[in-house]
Symmetry: C2
Subunit: 235 residues, 2 copies
C-alpha cells in the first residue's frame, strides 16, 4: 500500500482576512483531508471550519501534538499515513515546525520515508526579517532566552557580539506577557549603535515593523505587553 | 506630504501555478502599484504581467537593484516613496531581502521612517526547514560557503560542530551549477550520524524534500546539478 503524504499547513498569526494569508490551494488541500494533527483541538477545528471545509467537522479525525507528547505517541500519530491516508499538520499560529513542536512528527515521518509537503503561509520570523532591513544573507533564530534577568542579559551580550563580529542577524521571541521585560533588557545592555527591529502583531491591522538603533529606541515609549513580537538585532 | 509604503512582494521559485504560491491579496496589491524595484527588468515585468496587471506594463516605472547597486543609488530608488507613491520590491525568486540584495533598500527605508510591509509567499529556506524535521527552535542560515574546496570543507566541519554542540540547525545554499560539488563535500567530511536534508526544486512538480543521515546519503546517487537546492544539517 502507498503511504499517505504529510502536509504542513500554516495558520493565521492573528485576526486577518484569509485572502491576505494563504494561497487558494491551501483550502483546496484542507478540504481533501480527513486526518489532522493539531496543537489544540479547539483552535484546530475552528481554523479548518473557517477554511470552508465542506465535510462535517465531527467526521474528521483530530490528533493532539504538543510539547508534552512523548516519542512513542509521535509514532502513533503517524498510523493513518502508514494506512495510506494523507494528513495535515497544523500549528497554533504561523507555519508548523518553526518554533513549535511539529518537527517531532516531521522528523519521524522523514525517517519512515513519508513524503512531507510544506504549504505556504504566514511566518512571523520570516516576515520580520524581510521587513527589518537587517542582513538577510546570514541570520540565526535563537528562540527563547533565559528567564532569569542576569542570565538573559549575559546571553544578549553574547548575541550582540556575534552581530558585530560576523554580521549575522540575531532573532528572538519571548512569551508575549514577558515582552516588555525582554525589550528592557535589550535596551539596558546593548550598545547604542546596535540596530533592533521589532516585528509586532505582524499581518494584522496593528502591525508595527520598525528598525531603530538602541539609542533611538531608548527615547521612545512602546508597550509590547501581550503583543506577539519578533525581536531582531543587526548592524 | 505622506510618504508612500514599501511592499515586499514574493515571486515564484519555479514553474508553479500561482494559486499554490500567493494569497489573492498579493495580486490586488500589485495591481494598485505603478513603481517597482526589481533585480532584472525582464523577469520583473513578466511576473507583474502574469499577476494580471490591468495597466499597460510600459506605463509602469521599473528601477533596478542588484548586488552592484551603490549606496547612493539606493537612496535614489526611494524617491517615489518620498513623493508619496507606494512601491513594490520584488525578488528574482522567493521572498525579497532573504539571501538577496533587497535588504539594502529596506535598510534605507527603515532609516527614513518609511513603512515597510512584507507580503506572504514562497521562501525556499523556510519551506525546507519546515519539511526537514530538523530543529526549528534554533537555526542559522549561513548563505554561501567558500568556493575553495579545502576552505569549504573546513567551514562545513565548523558548522557540523555547532550542530552537535548546540543543536542549531545549519542551512546553506550554493550556486546551482556547483550543488554537486557542495554535496560531495558534505558527504566527504561530515560524520556518518549527522542528518542532512535536501530541499530541491521546492514548490514545483519535481520537489524533493528528504532528510537522511550522511551514511544513508552515501549509499544514494542523486544529481543536484542546476537544481535549486537548500542544504540543511541537523541532529
Amino acid at each position: 500500500m502507498n503511504k499517505g503524504k504529510l502536509y504542513l499547513i500554516p495558520s493565521p498569526l492573528g485576526e486577518t482576512a484569509f485572502e491576505h494569508l494563504f494561497p487558494p490551494f491551501n483550502s483546496t488541500l484542507i478540504h481533501s483531508l480527513d486526518y489532522f494533527i493539531v496543537e489544540e483541538f479547539k483552535t484546530g477545528r475552528r481554523f479548518i471550519k473557517k477554511m470552508g471545509m465542506p465535510k462535517p467537522i465531527d467526521q474528521l479525525h483530530f490528533f493532539l501534538l504538543n510539547e508534552h507528547t512523548r516519542p512513542k505517541e509521535v509514532e502513533a500519530l503517524l498510523e493513518p499515513l502508514l494506512s495510506g491516508f494523507n494528513m495535515g499538520l497544523l500549528s497554533e499560529a504561523g507555519t508548523p515546525c518553526v518554533a513549535d513542536p511539529g518537527s517531532l512528527v516531521v522528523n519521524k515521518a522523514q525517517q519512515m520515508g513519508i513524503e512531507v509537503i510544506p504549504l505556504i503561509g504566514p511566518n512571523s520570523i520570516l516576515l520580520a526579517l524581510m521587513g527589518s532591513g537587517l542582513n538577510g544573507q546570514k541570520f540565526a533564530f535563537n528562540g527563547y532566552l533565559n528567564r532569569d534577568r542576569k542570565l538573559r542579559e549575559k546571553e544578549l551580550k553574547f548575541y550582540e557580539s556575534l552581530v558585530f563580529k560576523t554580521d549575522q542577524t540575531q532573532i528572538f521571541i519571548e512569551a508575549p506577557y514577558r515582552n516588555n521585560h525582554f525589550f528592557e533588557s535589550m535596551l539596558e545592555v546593548c550598545s547604542p549603535e546596535l540596530k533592533i527591529c521589532l516585528g509586532v502583531d505582524l499581518t494584522t491591522d496593528q502591525q508595527l515593523l520598525k528598525t531603530r538603533t538602541v539609542s533611538q529606541w531608548r527615547k521612545e515609549k512602546i508597550d509590547l505587553h501581550k503583543r506577539p513580537t519578533v525581536f531582531l538585532m543587526g548592524k
